[in-house]
């Protein structure tokens, strides 16, 4: 019960920090929206023309001009930006060129699939990196240590798309154990999640190992042992908490890496998430979708980073904002 009150107290203390951070975020988000808006100007060709072509109509000069007027493309840029920003704030990200459906709705309805994949991968990372990292630190130079080192190097260097293809070949084609693509039950989730998590898991195992070794060399571990405490207790209670701190931050900050990886994995496994949606949109020249995707991902990324930052402050007592004695 008291734990709840402690958390509440900390959150209240953090509120001012949160406010400060959010205030700082504002110009960043403005910049993000500006850049995302500007993206559409990178595309070659006239958006109106593209729309007409996509609709199957003939892009005559009059039709193009008429559509341009209708879409407001002849207004000065800052007016266009303002309009776009206003709409975006109201969660209106425009309509897809191809299907005419609102972009925001399309993205939001596909996001749970990506989220499922990302969370599964995250879980795999934690479940495999944690024990491996700790064991590699405790049994230095043993087989576990060498295996994780090798695995980390391989994982960081291996292209994810290659791993995905190889896994499909082995498990789906050759041995027929798992389905090749699509979303469904757990068996559909395994291969994509493994592909997505492999590189990260290996890297984090090594990170945890390094962090653990650093902590184990500290004086307070010596003092704890000198008190006569059991080794398991010293490792579990004293060492681990300290070693996890930098890893937790890294996990959160690498969320972006994970998000980037989803595009490739979704493409290989035909997973119906936002990444695949954006990829299809790129080839269909469906620019509003691409733009909306960029904005959406940026927002998600920023929010996650903020959450990680706050949770780090909650976890590390040295960072808490309570007063000194």
């Amino acid at each position: 019960m008291w734990f709840f009150y402690v958390v509440l107290w900390e959150v209240v203390a953090i509120k001012r920090y949160l406010l400060k951070r959010l205030l700082y975020l504002l110009p960043v988000m403005m910049g993000v929206s500006l850049i995302t808006f500007g993206l559409i100007n990178l595309a070659p060709g006239d958006p109106a023309e593209v729309i007409l072509r996509a609709g199957g109509a003939e892009p005559t000069r009059e039709a193009v001009e008429a559509l341009r007027d209708e879409l407001g493309l002849n207004d000065p840029l800052y007016v266009q930006y303002g309009r776009w920003l206003w709409q975006a704030a109201g969660l209106d990200l425009g309509k897809s060129f191809r299907t005419g459906q609102p972009v925001a709705a399309e993205i939001l309805c596909r996001f749970p699939a990506t989220l499922e994949l990302t969370c599964a991968a995250m879980a795999l990372v934690v479940l495999s990196a944690l024990p491996l990292g700790i064991l590699a630190a405790l049994y230095r130079h043993a087989l576990v240590d060498h295996l994780t080192r090798f695995g980390a190097l391989a994982g960081a260097s291996m292209p994810g798309f290659w791993l995905g293809l190889m896994l499909i070949y082995c498990f789906s084609v050759k041995w027929g154990l798992l389905p090749v693509m699509g979303r469904g039950g757990i068996d559909h989730l395994i291969l994509p999640a493994v592909t997505l998590s492999f590189g990260m898991a290996a890297t984090y195992a090594r990170l945890l190992r390094a962090s653990m070794l650093e902590v184990l060399g500290q004086d307070f571990i010596r003092v704890a042992r000198a008190k006569g405490l059991a080794e398991k207790w010293v490792i579990g209670r004293h060492a681990l908490k300290n070693a996890l701190l930098p890893v937790v931050t890294m996990l959160g900050l690498s969320f972006g890496h994970l998000l980037g990886g989803t595009v490739i994995v979704e493409s290989i496994f035909a997973w119906p998430g936002v990444g695949k949606f954006c990829l299809d949109a790129i080839f269909n020249r469906d620019y509003p979708v691409v733009q909306g995707y960029a904005l959406f991902m940026a927002v998600v990324f920023v929010v996650v980073n903020l959450a990680v930052d706050i949770s780090y402050r909650l976890i590390d007592p040295r960072m808490r904002l309570s007063d000194k004695m």
């Binding site: 960043v28 292209p159 070949y169 084609v173 595009v263 790129i282 691409v290 991902m297 940026a298």
Partner: protein, 297 residues
């Protein structure tokens, strides 16, 4: 100190002792030495590609499609009858040269940017870093994907996109390093005798921050290679007939039941190239960046 090092390194001490200290320490680390070896191998293959490749990488021979490894075609042929080995060899050129070009461009932009921000401090620094923070708000690969997607599928566009996305990390690192070195005594002394800012920055500060910079550059090369081949795999990068490892992997997808060598070798090539840079980068980090400025990945 020297005799201790030659004892540590062992082997051919005469050669070892003639190399600069950091190189000695680097090569003493076996994994880093492996990275150097691999990288040297790749560079040689890339440079001598015209002499090493047994066949023309872009010559289409529809009569010889999807052959397995044999005498004439050591690694077989792809779905258009092109020699896989030759395409791999020429692909080395493509991957290494493009990622290197991107890296150079990044350095060209980020070094002045970061130095300016770090040196001036105050409002200039704030402004410059706001832009950096904004760009950092996007997940890297996704942003590159979007930019490349908007610009249109082509290798040049992929290079531009990756460059636009990656320079910010360097700028932030450089700024941080400059902020630190700026307070050191020799810089204060130089300022005290009226040395111009530009001279201080380039003759005093830059040599002192080169270490972590080189480490980040090496590690980023690996990421760039993965990025280029990844975006090519998705169809956004190198266009046919350019032999690029990522595109080769993509092309192999419809055929992997019949010819899995098409899928195996390009991926292996990518992995080994990235591995070389990662090994080298890790080794360099231990030697050049003991304080771990580059550890925040």
């Amino acid at each position: 100190m020297d005799h201790m090092l030659s004892r540590k390194v062992g082997g051919n001490s005469v050669i070892m002792l003639s190399l600069p200290t950091w190189l000695r320490r680097l090569l003493a680390d076996r994994l880093a030495a492996l990275g150097v070896l691999l990288l040297a191998g790749f560079i040689l293959v890339g440079v001598f590609a015209p002499y090493l490749a047994p066949h023309d990488p872009v010559a289409v021979e529809l009569g010889k499609r999807l052959l397995p490894s044999g005498e004439v075609y050591p690694l077989g042929t792809d779905h258009l009858g092109r020699c896989v080995l030759s395409r791999l060899i020429w692909g080395t050129r493509v991957s290494l040269s493009t990622s290197f070009l991107v890296l150079i461009t990044i350095m060209w932009i980020s070094i002045p940017y970061g130095m300016l921000a770090g040196w001036c401090g105050g409002r200039v620094d704030n402004l410059l870093m706001r832009l950096v923070d904004t760009l950092l708000a996007f997940p890297r690969l996704i942003f590159a994907l979007v930019i490349a997607g908007m610009l249109g599928p082509s290798l040049t566009n992929v290079m531009l996109a990756l460059g636009a996305v990656s320079w910010v990390r360097f700028a932030r690192l450089i700024r941080g390093l400059v902020l630190q070195v700026r307070e050191r005594e020799f810089v204060l002394a130089a300022r005290g005798c009226g040395t111009s800012a530009r001279r201080i920055l380039f003759t005093h500060i830059l040599p002192n921050i080169i270490g972590p910079l080189v480490v980040l550059a090496t590690l980023d090369m690996g990421w760039l290679i993965l990025g280029i081949s990844g975006l090519s795999f998705l169809g956004l990068g190198a266009q046919p007939p350019t032999p690029e490892w990522g595109t080769m992997l993509n092309d192999s997808r419809p055929y992997f039941q019949v010819a899995h060598n098409l899928m195996l070798y390009p991926g292996l090539a990518i992995m080994l190239a990235v591995l070389a840079f990662n090994l080298l980068g890790d080794g360099l980090r231990d030697v050049l960046d003991p304080h771990g400025f580059t550890r925040r990945r």
